[in-house]
Amino acid sequence: MASLVGSRVERKEDKRLLTGKGRYTADINIANQTYAVFVRSPHARAKIKKIDISKALKASGVVEILTGEEIAADKIGGLIAGWAIRSEDGSEMKVPANPPLAKDSANFVGEPIAVVFAESLDEAKAAVDLVKVDYKVLKGVINTAEAMKGETIHDGIDKNLCYDWLLGDRKAVEDAFAKADKIIKVDLINNRCVPNAMEPRACVVDYNTASEEITLYTTSQNPHLSRLIMSAFGGVAPENKLRVVAPDVGGGFGSKINVYNEEIVCSWASKKIERPIKWVAERTESFLTDTHGRDHVTHAELAVTNDGKFLAFKNETIANLGAYARVFGTVTPTYLFGPCATGVYIIPAAYTNVKAVYTNTAPVDAYRGAGRPEATYTIERLVEKAALELGIDRTEIRMRNFPTEFPFKQTLVHTVDSGDYVAGLKKAKEMSDYAGFEVRRKKSEANGKLRGIGVSSYFEACGIAPSAVVMSLGCGVGLWESSEVRFNPTGQVSVYTGAHSHGQGHDTTFAQIAADELGVGLDVVDVVHGDTDKGTFGMGTYGSRSLAVGGIAIVNACRKIVAKGKRVAAKMLEVNEDEIDFKDGEFVVVKSNKKKTISEVAFACYLPGSRDSDFKSPLPEGEEPGLIETSFFDPSNFSFPAGSHIAEVEIDPETGEIKVEKYTAVDDFGKIVNPLVVEGQVHGGIAQGIGQALHENTKYDETGQLITASYMDYTIPRADNFPEFNLGFTCTHATSNPLGVKGCGEAGAIASPPTIMNAVIDALGGQEITMPATAEKVWKACKTMKKSNTKAA
């Protein structure tokens, strides 16, 4: 039987999504539902003096209006930070309370203050305008770099500082810097991005007055984790009375990890008003209140020798958390950032210091790559600059500092189990015709254009899991993943997973894995996810963990099925268990033609009785009936995908317009389950990274108004912003899981911003420019370049 793992299998989920039969949260309606619309703070920072709902309550169709007073009185808990990070001095991080409805103060534009429930959406919207909130407007803290000097936002949190974190050895770094031939320095801004999943957040809540069970349909990447948080910290309902369903979800990119105010408020309120509730965000609400990504201000230095050896690295970063610390908010700029900041290189001494600050802006949390794009941008800008300043080819300087032996124990945290960085960069050079670049540059020059080339070599730590590691670093939960595999008596297989697919294609890839393990056809395997009432438990999908953690739980559950099947088959075939081989879905007695298919064995597992000498129980003594197995998988290490990307851009100096002419990506994701799906993940990631590098600018004005809160103002990349990406792969197997797989979902977004920016800066003759490199900025840089060229002449 040909292996399904490794094949370009078309996706099982596509037919329903292509024919309009997808079922997204906003598609769900429940009889007698009310419509929720939130009253949101128009100010970045204000004291809430008084809320007058009297007029709004009398408006047509209004069912109920609730505020922070009621939710506090009912002791409903707030939103949480999932990771506890300690400062360099050993003190615990400082986290403000984050009530689902702000009661005393509002801390960012869009923060929910009150909620109106009405018979129709129009009536709810009209009533929101009648709620009068009396604010005392305060001066907001907006700017990341200046946040520590601003007024204190949250009582008791001095300098607006959540923590001042250090990873590494300052003294070792200073000693190495003293011996360096040259110090390369960069000052970087990692621009804030809005994730912009195309499906706006939404929730529909149905409270069953008889069973007292709340069913929450929501746009979540991790329904079980959401239920846990809402139950343990929100106190909305005990877990057994709270069902969370994340049906088809239209993209996440990190923005749908968090439990949000609206989900807690609507779940709590549905029980209170004993009516179903529907809430759907408008796009501007999504811009204002979805968690944002990135927003770092960094000064970094690399100590080098004249022959291009890296000696030491230092990184001083201020990370903006926004108004509150959320689930992955505090870990993203620390353990997802610092350990990856030395990149794919041997650097004997290193440290990263991060000061995480609160500001009066939307909370910042994980966004595709989460910390690793920021890390890669920092080191890869330094390395490219080092090559330029030392006069060494940019690929050569990288090769000189790559490790060639694996496992590679990095200076800071990770032991990278496998990789071949040299092979990746060599392949990328070949595929991109790196050697032919100068000819292309001259051709562009002849047309009055500036052409640049940029390289980025990256690695990342993903498949976020090892519970022992993440909990020691401050994670509030273990990050294992679970699966249950049910082999039905009539031959179909249901695979339950705690991972959640919101575009990743788990219905297909997980089915490929299970079908191979069990030797059955793809058509009889169904993957079930996204419902806390179905399947065991799960931590969800983020950090490129679904396959490397969740997929392995499926493998292990399938292997338990086969192990039991073997015991049963042995009894049925009247041989010893060790005389049986399992291959291609058949239990075969070695050196004979006696065999049973796995479907026959499964059927037998459900019929354990004896009738007469012709029908004896197929189950060995003491064996339980049924063929259902569960596995919780907790890997021994992260997975470490890596690769090299090369881009070429062409700039029109008259307009500042940048065209991405070529983009080559060579990645090592270990064993690939479905190349079709993996290529799609890489395309999407690269596009998001190019978006960050060239287009996307999240702009708050000095009063804290988000002035890029719609697609009219926020430049989200369109089809004509990209060239065709040229993909290649190398393969070294991960050793921390039995399939040898590594995560692939975030790599593109990690590698592409420095690749593109290195190319843009190369085209500008080494002139530094910040992301996003918009036409305006580039045009100005071209003018400066022209002036300095004229002077030089």
């Binding site: 999504l17 309009g20 598609d27 195309m198 706006p200 993209g251 796009r283 919101h502 369109r718």
Partner: protein, 153 residues
């Protein structure tokens, strides 16, 4: 309120609608055709694209009363005799969708492109799809799907 009569996916529908009812709301809420999605409030994202008298339009910025008497085709109306439209097939074959949210609008828009231009170039496809935002695919496999469909239609 105005009484409108519209042919939706080959079936005549007559309903009284408030004059301010937007077509996307009418399709989703009154006819339960939830394959047409709404991804923004500014007619930028294109998730809501449907055909009116065969031409692609953004249903989020069209008043239902304005299309009284016309024919509407939504993503649900493309399947004929249980078979998907060649454009739907091509999206599946080329992995032109991931989360699927932008997909209905993308497919409806792409079909209209091929009605206007039989074998569009990559550049023409990318230019045409400027009004449809996808956050998952980087557009590459969407372009490949449109070309695949062009070769079959």
């Amino acid at each position: 309120m105005t009484k409108v009569t519209i042919e939706v996916n080959g079936k005549k529908v007559s309903k009284d609608v408030p004059d301010h009812t937007i077509l996307s709301v009418f399709l989703r809420d009154s006819l339960n055709l939830t394959g047409t999605h709404v991804g923004c409030d500014t007619s930028q994202c294109g998730a809501c694209v449907v055909h009116v008298d065969g031409k692609s339009i953004k249903s989020c910025s069209t008043l239902t009363v304005d299309i009284n008497g016309l024919k509407v085709t939504t993503i649900e109306g493309l399947v004929k005799d249980g078979k998907m439209h060649p454009m739907q097939e091509a999206f599946k074959k080329m992995h032109g969708l991931q989360c699927g949210f932008c997909t209905p609008g993308m497919v409806m828009s792409a079909i209209d492109l091929l009605q206007n231009k039989k074998n569009p170039s990559d550049t023409e496809i990318r230019k045409w799809l400027e009004g449809n935002i996808c956050r998952c695919t980087g557009y590459q496999n969407i372009v490949a799907a449109v070309k695949e469909a062009a070769s079959k239609m």
